[in-house]
């Protein structure tokens, strides 16, 4: 329906990118429930996605279960795994939990690699094409609304209290263990939905699609967008779904670098307003450097465009954490604040 409408002025490749934005939005907002809202640290989100994707694909492939039911079953299975992973959270904090989630996801991947009924290391081919842009769009919107409501309820506040101060939360009657497990279960459920959408869209699944890299990719989305804010997760998912595509050719790279430069200017403006002269000198030098690289490094950039993606990702991770831990959405809010105050001043 909407897909047909879009196909009038967009290529099928562009529509595919849009669909992936949807799928990754579901993944990012659900991971944000664990990492951003509850303050736990999961780097195994791809594992839940894999469970959902494989279970749903198994059901539609072998038993011709309708897509919606299969997706629901996949999501529930993923939620069950979320419960399993949630249990160690009774005991683990911070970094130990991170390693445990990574371990769980790796175990799932290794098991799938050895599971012949879903193709094992050859991958699961021949999955019916049961999801398209329309399905993805509708399910993404529903997921966003549902999780948004969740975070704005007493449940969401309880999760945030755990992030802020676990002991104080306990003393205020918040059963922190229950809510931590709940966060994992809810997040895993939605990751499972995303997995089903992914499998039935691509018509192929491979265990190595759900390795640590995928989990990190999802993590990067919420870091870039701003953790603990679903709009931030959405923004992160959009940016990081488009970024690798735009890094495929020189023109795209130029645009990307220009945008990154402008964001950098905005961040440094936010941080260093006190000394305008130094700030101006800084952006001038950085701008000249960027221009120099673009003009004289054209050959190199074109040759290594593919390999530079991960390097750009990792530099982004480090710089965001050091200079802009509240993410793009935090930056937007900070920049908007003086503007808002000025507007309010005019009214008064």
């Amino acid at each position: 329906m909407i897909e047909q409408l879009l196909s009038n002025f967009m290529s099928s490749y562009q529509i595919q990118i849009l669909s992936f934005i949807g799928i990754f939005t579901i993944l990012a907002i659900s991971l944000d429930i664990i990492n951003g809202y509850t303050g736990q640290f999961s780097i195994g989100h791809a594992g839940f996605m894999a469970v959902g994707g494989y279970v749903a694909a198994y059901l539609t492939f072998y038993h011709q279960v309708p897509f919606i039911l299969a997706t629901l079953a996949g999501a529930l299975s993923a939620a069950f795994f979320g419960l399993l992973i949630g249990i160690p959270t009774l005991r683990l904090r911070g970094d130990y939990l991170a390693i445990a989630t990574l371990g769980f996801a790796e175990i799932i991947r290794v098991v799938l690699l050895n599971l012949d009924v879903v193709g094992g290391a050859r991958g699961f081919a021949g999955i019916s094409n049961l999801s398209n842009f329309d399905t993805v769009l509708i399910i993404t919107i529903i997921s966003f609304i549902v999780l948004y409501n969740f975070t704005r309820s007493a449940y969401g506040r309880a999760l945030q209290s755990i992030r802020e101060d676990e002991i104080a939360a306990e003393c205020m009657g918040v059963p922190t263990t229950y809510f931590k497990v709940l966060a994992f279960v809810v997040a895993a459920f939605f990751a499972g939905i995303a997995g089903s959408l992914y499998g039935h869209y691509l018509m192929f699944l491979h265990p190595n699609d759900f390795g640590l890299l995928r989990s990190i990719e999802i993590l990067l989305m919420i870091v870039l967008g701003g953790m603990g804010n679903l709009w931030g997760a959405l923004l992160g998912a959009i940016v990081l779904s488009i970024l690798p595509e735009s890094l495929r050719n020189y023109q795209g790279i130029v645009y990307t670098i220009a945008v990154v430069y402008l964001v950098g200017v905005a961040i440094s403006y936010q941080k260093g307003k006190q000394n305008i002269a130094r700030w101006l000198a800084g952006i001038l030098i950085a701008g000249l450097a960027v221009g120099f690289i673009l003009i004289y490094g054209k050959e190199l950039i074109i040759r290594y465009a593919g390999q530079m993606r991960m390097i750009i990702y990792s530099i982004l991770l480090i710089l965001m954490m050091i200079f802009q831990p509240s993410g793009l959405i935090g930056l937007a809010r900070d920049l908007a604040k003086p503007l808002k105050e000025r507007l309010r001043g005019v009214k008064a």
Binding site: Q160, A169, E170, M172, G173
Partner: protein, 257 residues
Amino acid sequence: MSELLQLKAVSKNFGGLRAVNHVDMVVPEKGLYGLIGPNGAGKTTIFNLITGIYEPTEGEIIFDGSLINGLQPHSIAKRGIARTFQNIRLFKELTVLENILIARQAYKKYNIFTAMFRLPGYFKEEKRMKEEAMEILGLLGLADKADYKAGALPYGEQRLTEIARALALRPKLILLDEPAAGMNPAESENLMNLIKRIREEFITTVLLIEHDMKVVMGVCEYIYVLDYGSLISQGPPEVVSKDPKVIEAYLGEQVNA
């Protein structure tokens, strides 16, 4: 008056260190009791034992007629014990109102699906919870701060917010851990009045740890004195303040009744 909280020969060891040693305490219903002692005497440890953060090594803690040692802090909170912390532990990134609402979350009357799909019960219940929270904030004079981030408030108001959050649990017993710490004389004067008001308006029992002797002596009906983990004295303020053991423990610090 019947006893609300009772500690029977409670001890707590950390490794080889005995932080609390055979402490017997009784706090009656509607009482306003104080727990004092020099630094490191084990006062906060006793609060942590009562609220379930630590489990006693020996002894029994009885609240409202049932044994509570070994219970999780959140279920002790639900039984009616609320507390504040010596080093303020607010949910800093959340607003003052949200801080209060979190203490009310155990009483929410909607389930997760109602929340996710905003079914009819949701709006009514949220409105009710917000009204209750605003009422408590109003009583403590914090109503106009409801939308501020808790971490952005000045120190004195953060202390008040913590008390408001504890009261939002509708506790039978409220434990205040050095509420006057870092306050100037005028502020602690106000605090004394507030603590008295809390007992009247919320019909609750108060147990207070305090370093500021003026505050303790001014509001408490009965005082327990702790030194090196053991009780060394107890009684009404005028008795305790004349006890030579107490004066010795506080050697160098002035004790004014």
